[in-house]
């Protein structure tokens, strides 16, 4: 009985967890290869590291302290606000906005731009993989 229960709850977890579509999976595999090539001790992407990449403050492109949550908010299911222009941003969490993290080119473009805005440099393969692993589960 216990075993069946365990199996059932496992499959429920699998069903609940968000997953990347095929093109995004291929992109994640690419990032993984790149991360491994840059650091032999790399094991796997980590949502916890991704969360701190997303929430920590940095001196950005405008020489001001900011974080990813400056525009996307701490609650990723909520509507964000572009602080530079006052325009609202639809929620970033895939559970609240099914369009998110489905188009590789769109994801690459915004990660490039947004890392430059917040970190004043592009993200590494490890950082991009970690942050996407964090975001897909939101």
């Amino acid at each position: 009985m216990k075993k069946i229960f365990l199996m059932l709850s496992c499959s429920a977890v699998i069903l609940l967890a968000q997953d990347f579509n095929a093109p995004m999976k291929a992109y994640m595999n690419e990032l993984e290869k790149e991360a491994k090539a840059q650091d032999a001790s790399f094991e796997r992407f980590d949502a916890k590291r991704g969360e701190s990449i997303f929430t920590s403050q940095h001196i950005g492109k405008k020489a001001q302290e900011m974080s990813c949550t400056t525009c996307h908010k701490s609650d990723l299911k909520a509507t964000g606000l572009n602080v530079n222009t006052n325009k609202t941003i639809a929620p970033l969490a895939p559970s609240a906005n099914a369009q998110r993290l489905t188009d590789v080119e769109e994801v690459q473009k915004w990660l490039r731009r947004n890392f430059n805005d917040v970190y004043n440099r592009e993200g590494s393969a490890l950082e991009k993989g970690d942050v996407l692993t964090y975001l897909i589960n939101q």
């Binding site: 492109k61 405008k62 572009n82 530079n84 222009t85 006052n86 473009k109 731009r113 430059n116 805005d117």
Partner: protein, 151 residues
């Protein structure tokens, strides 16, 4: 007859300032209206657009860079539809809001109505021009937040 044609021409050249063709290009809307309202190409002259498109990596303090293919398509669209009117004359910058005519038209608006959170800056055309999306900047469509109609 000549007079009538002439006054028609004068009228036409005056009405430009209130109406510009809407920015209907789908790629332009996707790429250039994601952070702000999609400024119509006729609001800026061709040399202004060249400057904007040549510096997207550092676009007014933010990174708005594009892939080469999209960049090239948008350069063609904005320069081919660039403005050549009172509004764009003498503008050597890459800001619509820095054109001499624009500055003159907006100089009577009190600062507190511009830097309030609902507007933020004169770059946010659609905050006051309620039909900006359609390219209509006529006075009767202006409603300034926390102030009301301008007319």
């Amino acid at each position: 007859m000549k007079r009538i044609i002439l006054s028609c021409l004068v009228l036409a050249s005056m009405s430009w300032a209130k109406n510009v063709p809407a920015a209907t290009d789908a790629l332009y809307q996707k790429e250039c209206a994601s952070c702000h309202f999609g400024y119509q190409p006729a609001l800026l002259n061709a040399s202004g657009w060249q400057k904007v498109m040549g510096s997207l990596k550092d676009h007014f303090g933010t990174d708005a860079s594009l892939s080469q293919k999209e960049h090239d398509a948008i350069v063609t669209y904005v320069t081919q539809n660039a403005g050549n009117s009172k509004l764009t004359q003498g503008n050597t910058t890459m800001r619509i809001s820095q054109s001499p005519y624009f500055i003159k038209e907006h100089r009577r608006i009190p600062e507190r109505l511009i830097d309030q959170p609902e507007v933020k800056s004169l770059s946010q055309c659609a905050a006051c021009h309620t039909k900006a999306e359609q390219g209509d900047y006529s006075e009767r469509t202006i409603v300034i937040p926390n102030y009301g109609r301008w007319e």
